[in-house]
Symmetry: C2
Subunit: 636 residues, 2 copies
Amino acid sequence: MLLFFLFSSWNPFSGGGGESAGRRSQFPPKSLTSKKFSHSAQTSATPRHPIDPLTVGEIHRVRSILSSYEPFLGQFPAIQSMTIDEPDKSRVLGWQSGDPLPPRKAFVIGLLDNQSHLVTIDLESGRVETHEISSGSGYPMLTMEDVAAAVDAAVSYPGLEVSAAARGLSVANLSCISPSPGWFGPEEEGKRLLKVLCYSKQGTPNFYMRPLEGLVMTVDVDRREVIKFSDTGRGIPIPGGANTDYRFHPGNDPPEMNPINPISMEQPQGPSFTVTDGHLVEWANWEFHLKADQRAGFIVSRVVVRDSETGDRRSVMYKGFPSELFVPYMDVDEAWYFKSYMDAGEFGMGATAMPLVPLNDCPRNAHYMDGVFVSADGRPFIQPNMICLFERYAGDSAWRHTELTVSAGELREARAKVTLVARMASSVGNYDYTIDWEFQTDGLIKITVALSGMLMVKATVHDNMNQIENQEETGPMVSENVIGVVHDHFITFHLDMDVDGPNNTFVKVNLVKEENLEGKTPRKSYLKPVRHVAKTEEDARVKLSLYNPSEFHVVNPSRRSRLGNPSGYKVVPEANAASLLDHSDPPQLRSAFTNNQIWVTPYNRSEQWAGGLLTYQSHGDDTLDVWSHRYVTWLY
Amino acid sequence: MLLFFLFSSWNPFSGGGGESAGRRSQFPPKSLTSKKFSHSAQTSATPRHPIDPLTVGEIHRVRSILSSYEPFLGQFPAIQSMTIDEPDKSRVLGWQSGDPLPPRKAFVIGLLDNQSHLVTIDLESGRVETHEISSGSGYPMLTMEDVAAAVDAAVSYPGLEVSAAARGLSVANLSCISPSPGWFGPEEEGKRLLKVLCYSKQGTPNFYMRPLEGLVMTVDVDRREVIKFSDTGRGIPIPGGANTDYRFHPGNDPPEMNPINPISMEQPQGPSFTVTDGHLVEWANWEFHLKADQRAGFIVSRVVVRDSETGDRRSVMYKGFPSELFVPYMDVDEAWYFKSYMDAGEFGMGATAMPLVPLNDCPRNAHYMDGVFVSADGRPFIQPNMICLFERYAGDSAWRHTELTVSAGELREARAKVTLVARMASSVGNYDYTIDWEFQTDGLIKITVALSGMLMVKATVHDNMNQIENQEETGPMVSENVIGVVHDHFITFHLDMDVDGPNNTFVKVNLVKEENLEGKTPRKSYLKPVRHVAKTEEDARVKLSLYNPSEFHVVNPSRRSRLGNPSGYKVVPEANAASLLDHSDPPQLRSAFTNNQIWVTPYNRSEQWAGGLLTYQSHGDDTLDVWSHRYVTWLY
């Protein structure tokens, strides 16, 4: 059973502290080249598990096979994606440590002459097994090389020099970023586009705060040329960017606060978890497979918990990962309307995950894992230290009870809470998403998404609120000439739940008010739980409502406790948000997975990405919403 | 400005892990006596701040004044509450360290001849300043002595021996608890009642799991007699209680999991906070007054943050505390319908807070504070180690950003997150509430309520789910013959916000969909923030809605930033729940503060307790809902 589970937050106004708004895009990482081909003992190892990611050696092998593949002779495609083609679930579930690995296969998405080639390759035989050219809308995830090429094209465009000069700058003073264009109808079809926006980098590394407002260049990525140049903001000053350098310097003026003494999480005997063969994590009563992924960031697979009574290994989840993000901005100006990002499918949560900073991103004793990824030429590169794994003790109790009773005397029982956290952080342009999977010994798995980084801001002629009292602005003024534009962040997780096996059922337990109790009780009402077993996908599309609440259970009716209860997991949505955009609005069409907070679909190996496999400039014809509405699908 | 802010959760089904349901009541703490009069250096000190709680010496003084007060000569009232009568806010705000203290006064609630006497006393002059006899409904918070007396009366009731014998037990085998009766109309008025329920304590300290189902004794607390005895459950077996001993023994069989190595939070130079004069906490850029309270548990006052630019001390909140809890169970049987607890006003969150367990409830380097409370005879007693204060480092980053840019090279910036936590844990019978106030250096204050402890369960004749398929049960079967009855926990916080001073305004920023954009933009919709300044209390009654979302700002229009924005705080409700009971249902009437998730009322010194000052058996005539609907009150 697949469960798509939406997390979200909206950040219209950054009140008096805490999180604030903003985001977007990626500058060519020139230093990337030096990292290619770097091998580490950890990442160059032989694969040991059927779902282990492709190794450095395997990536070279795939490239070599593709190079001699007849259709690509003389015109090697740009490799937009190359991953392990995981064996069928039944095969993986049947495999045990020590068994020979199932055949290793790669799934490649290559781009050639504006066409997306979907190719599967058997590594042993060296044969291309399937080769399909996509006929639907959308392009594959961009490569870093695409981004670099588009920015290069934009910065050499003569109009940019003029626009920069009109603001007293030269192109050398600019940092340019390349957000995706979304999709807004026929005139943008048939070519891969990027929008390029520029900022003054003078005086601050936080160039995001210094936009050349109204300047937007539409670049044809493959032709490497600017096809549309628009500059409507020459009258808008570039915000000053004072005090926006975020880099830590020991010599910085101390902030107006008392110093905080050193504090750390210490484990004199070291951590209690082990990582075997690079990917298999074991801790307390948990076991799972953890790997980096260029698109999803990281993937947690084969999650197993040990039964506290029998010691049996019991399956919880086959696979879980961030499936897609949606970040629509609420400003319809020419330089803003298109900002409706789908970070996983457009840029990749792994591709944008820089190395974690020891002691600041993750505590002492953290174990780090690299990502082994693929660049556009089909060669491997290492994303070092992109995942960390650590035990957390936050000073909390896992369970407690105190009691004064005559019989038992004073009872004071408390257990300190220690958990295991797997973490990564993607910097998709200005915004940083930190994603945690946290495992508790009581069986709970908690997913947390934290936002950090910088705002994506809009410049304005105004530098004080009293000038804009009756004017329309699309967000609050956060500094002189700077508007923090209202936007949302939605992230949906793909959770392939296999609680005690694959045949799980989704149950909504609705709380219903019972009334008309006269004569039976002094109460006038109470709430009764009413179970609804979802029979079709439609039954399992959930819009959360505070005043019509339900619990959500994923149960296995074929595995009963001694009481006859099915085994199961409860899905608990915490703080959440809904997308209020028109369902026919192009950004909402493409990210229609945000139409509900929970969706349940029958297992389908091909339905991994809630925004579609080929997301870039897609028309919304391959989303979770489309799959779910295609026909009435019975969940059991 | 007062802001009442609701937290809640509902626990109908305990799914596959995590939190589960249950709760209630307090057995006479016989060991209490030994703690009376115990003095500690910390708690016997002279008061140093106008709002410091009464000291041991002051409590003795108040008792002595009351003993010679003419109306109480010869008939000393039972002291249900005795606290510092805080000076007027303006007086407290005007006071500075070193100034002489304003006159110390005590507010006493005494019970005499079934009447609640509200008395204020000036400690210096020794005079009773005001003396009022309550004419409204409701009684004061119970004392431990009330609870003990009621249970004593019940266990000596002859019918109990018969009921016990019918189940093969004697009274000596029982543990009895005394939940509050709620209020359900005229026949329960005019006398203070407790319901007494009994459990078999054989074989487990967790007697809550072994109810004598259907047995309920209604006790007149003041006459100390059982006035109603009901036993409808003799045919229902007492659940076995196997494996319910929750006490930790080093010799316990190890659970089926790998051991977890020691882990702790270490501060080689010690903690960075200071506590001056017993109550004044200073840490990083924060300063606040913290004290224990017999009813609220603890109170955070005079919260001040230092301005990061100027170093000025800026007011954030005058006073914050848990104002009331509401825990309605969803079962209308004779032995269950009344379970609709109001823990703060009925039993007291401080009165039920046992000492915290070092290293398991709070980490190493925590600082502990005692509560100085008052027993029914007016004498002081110490609740030792009932609050802890510690710095938390959970392995997270406070802020991070990484970036690859040509101009700046690779930037990897992250700051470890360290916060300050003030914690207490109340064990209101079976259920434990841990309440945290967490302060972040970026200005955020986060309140967290965690639930732990044991379920409040109902016995049933059934021991397997297959027997109850078509039968009505009011919750899931959690063990043989044990039903975990559906219930809610609502907790509302009283937040007297004084952001940069007292004249704050409440602003709802509603997100509204804008459509009909044809010709202006390729987008079909966007969301526009629309500000609604609350003019009356009615404007500020908030029912949260995912599909009609707002942000909630408390701003000070008279204090503007250099940009002209008012200073302010954002109130962020996280996961929440609504009460779905009939508004005319007696439990809902009494806890009508759960009719909305947020209420804002103008400052009124007497409106502290959202369920009313005299909550016990109240009729709902003195709740936040009543105050707010009394007349149209302008907020500014």
